[in-house]
Amino acid sequence: MSQPDLNAKSRLISQAELDKWLDGLARTQTLIAPRNVSGVVLYRPVAGSDEIVKGVNRPAMSVKEVFFPPTERLLTIRKTGTEIHINETLPEGQAVVFGVLPCDARGVRLLDALFLDTTPADPYYARRRANTTLIGLACKEMGPTCFCTSVGGAPDDPTGMDMMLYPAEYGYMAEAISDKGHSLLAEAGWPETVLGGTAPDSTGRFPTLEKSQWPGHFNDDYWMKISERCLSCRACAYVCPTCRCFAVRDEMLGPGEFERIRCWDSCAGENYRRVAGGHRPRAEKGERLRNRFYCKFFYFPGQIGLSDTSACTGCGRCIEVCPAGVDITEVLQDLERLA
């Protein structure tokens, strides 16, 4: 397939045009985009395009929190006399997320596999997913901790998006990926550029273990060694686009009123897998850190039938946030070397 002329003026959407369009979107529905919140870039509702952080900043949290918020009320329980009323609280409202990174969209696809493709589908997640449009923005370059190319992604991978924007020298090219994206593009009246899949990018690529090789490393001393510095905090899991553990609890709101909430949880926590009686099968932090890697590269891909792909999207956030310097790329390369 011949490459279209990527800098032809007719194909390009100028920054001004894009901003105007985003301002229009923000007026009619919730527009979520990277925003500077006291010095931290996060996906947050914005009032207009001027609030959107432009450039190469990767938001500190992935787009996961839009669909799977840190805390979510599932239902409320009200007790009057002998009667108990249960009211399911499904999320409302349409939203458009702008500036989604390809690695984050890949994360959403992985969450879909768990929350949507397994039965029963998660109604809260499903509702948010159905009511949200993802507008992707291809990365111009890979950041210092990015490694999407080593785990099957690419900085300009449009899969999982509804619409994708590719920055060019003097503006953006737009590509509609889903039906939602097509209608959005048609409404905007923009030309579409079908890139038809770019050549696989090998920037900064390093070899990783085959899935079948993982079980052989389960009992390696390596895990205890690299986990010595681990602090058992949950930062890596909470910033991860694909970590999806949660805990559910009923909490009292007032006399006779309760809510059922679900909150993020993580295998890094000391309570992970604790059972009645207090036994913790993953009591050592090394076992829990190992679990994190096995979950990404072995357990989760196996559970949801991803044959060769990993549940890591290579966004590199965990490397950035780890207070003790645990580095997933180093672990992957070490394992490959040990193999």
Binding site: R35, N36, V37, S38, G39, V40, L42, R44, P45, A60, M61, P70, T71, T145, E228, R229, L231, S232, C233, R234, A235, A237, Y238, V239, A247, R249, E251, I261, C263, W264, S266, G269, E270, N271, I319, E320, V321, P323, A324, G325, D327, T329, E330
Partner: protein
């Protein structure tokens, strides 16, 4: 008219009886009071008070026996020490400090009970409804420009090679002679990041480095590395296995606190102290905590690397001090807004707690399944309770290593809370944590020097 909800914690031995005395004497006391009978004012833990405000109380009154009359001798001394610190913390967090009051009422002082409760209720009524508990959603607003760096201090010139060499030589000696089983130090990762490293053999000491990014407080790993069951384990020579650790002056203060709290014993560790001119923050300038560092030389060590430097007498003013001063000047409502917008970003990942070398409870009060002090939700109220509660638990203990703030993936200026309390503790008790093996005055018993106003 607004009628405030007042929760009164009454000591069973005096104030509760005092309330009865007031009733028998047919003295009027306000109906706003919800009395909670407690065995002693010393039982009223700060968590209870915070929970009371979290649940919507407009004012909290704690009444105990007069000093010197405690049924348990020193219970009210505890209350007298704790509550002013809590009040300072809640006030810094944006609550009007007047909403919390500690006072003394004996069993016979019915008139005093009626007067204090009436006065307090009138005062809270005047203040109006409390806006402590956050209801509903909030859009994240930019917090005030307090946190924007105005001036920065460049990193001083330091010779890292020499200190790196000395640390390696000492570690080699300690490991080769079997004096220690492990040395905890710093290494540079493949990515070029400095991080903690655990060295077990003399051949590995080449990994050890010293540079301007050795910011981690390694003393937190000691407690983990020396579990109770290992304390008795001996090496081949029959001597107890010890751990060597590389510390900066700030970290050395942590070790003193750990020793004072019996988390370690001195003979279990070999401290390689390194004199320090400060660590680098992102962008290359000196970290704020290092600007105001007074020590420069470790306060406790077995081996000193670098030339000893005289401690600074007067605490140098840093930008964090400026921010704290700004916040102190602001109105409670402004402080509340500031902290809510900061805590809003929190994801409750507990990185601050895990990175803190002094947060060493086996199970955190705020993470217990049966916690009655905070819910599991990652909501604004819960997050604030967690942060303020943690800051309170570190009052008089925190040495200001700022690991909490460094570990925070959301860049929340958590250490401001700790610093504010350190100032309060120094003002009240003339105490700075970790300078000697002395526990925090807030957890010890006063020996009768407390005088009632």
């Amino acid at each position: 008219m607004f009628e405030p909800k007042i929760v009164a914690f009454l000591c069973s031995w005096c104030s509760y009886t005092g309330a009865d005395t007031a009733g028998i004497a047919r003295l009027k006391s306000p109906a706003n009071l919800r009395a909670i009978r407690v065995p002693c004012s010393g039982r009223v833990s700060p968590e209870l008070i915070m929970r009371t405000f979290d649940q919507g109380a407009d004012g909290v009154l704690v009444l105990g026996c007069h000093i010197g009359e405690c049924h348990y001798d020193t219970g009210n001394h505890r209350a007298a020490k704790r509550l002013p610190v809590l009040q300072a913390l809640l006030s810094f967090g944006g609550l009007e400090p007047e909403r919390l009051r500690l006072d003394w009422v004996s069993a016979s002082e019915g008139e005093r009970f009626a007067r204090i409760t009436t006065e307090f209720t009138a005062m809270v009524r005047e203040l109006g409804p409390v806006h402590w508990r956050w209801e509903g959603k909030r859009r994240q607003e930019e917090s005030r420009d307090l946190l924007i760096s105005s001036k920065t201090i460049p990193l001083p010139e330091m010779d890292f090679t020499l200190r790196t060499e000395s640390i390696r030589a000492k570690a080699r000696e300690l490991l080769a002679s079997g004096q220690v089983g492990c040395v905890i130090g710093y290494e540079t990762s493949q990515r070029g990041r400095t991080r903690p490293v655990f060295i077990y053999s003399p051949e590995e000491v080449g990994h050890l480095v010293w540079n301007a990014d050795c910011t981690h407080n390694l003393s937190g790993y000691l407690v983990d590395k020396l579990p109770a069951n290992q304390r008795e384990r001996s090496n081949e020579n029959g001597s107890h296995l010890r751990i060597g650790v590389v510390v900066k002056p700030c970290d050395s203060r942590t070790i003193n606190v750990l020793l004072a709290e019996n988390q370690l014993s001195r003979e279990q560790i070999h401290i390689i102290g390194v004199t320090c001119e400060g660590m680098r923050k992102e962008g290359g300038n000196l970290q704020e905590r290092c600007v105001s560092c007074q020590e420069r030389t470790p306060v406790v060590y077995d081996t000193l690397v670098g030339e000893p430097v005289h401690p600074v007498d007067q605490r140098p003013f840093s930008q964090s001090d400026e921010i704290i001063a700004e916040l102190n000047k602001a109105t409670p409502a402004e402080r509340l807004e500031f902290w809510l917008s900061q805590f809003d970003r929190c994801i409750r990942c507990y990185a601050c707690r895990q990175a803190c070398p002094l947060c060493n409870c086996p199970t955190c009060l705020y993470e217990r399944d049966d916690s009655t002090y905070v819910g599991m939700g990652i909501g604004l109220n819960e997050k604030r309770t967690y942060h303020l509660g943690r800051a309170y638990h570190l009052a008089g203990r925190c040495v200001g290593c700022n690991e909490c703030e460094r570990a925070c993936p959301m860049d929340i200026p958590i250490s401001l809370l700790n610093q504010r309390l350190a100032v309060e503790i120094e003002k009240t008790f003339g105490y700075r944590s970790g300078l000697a093996v002395v526990p925090s005055p807030i957890v010890t018993i006063l020996s009768g020097e407390y005088k009632e106003d």
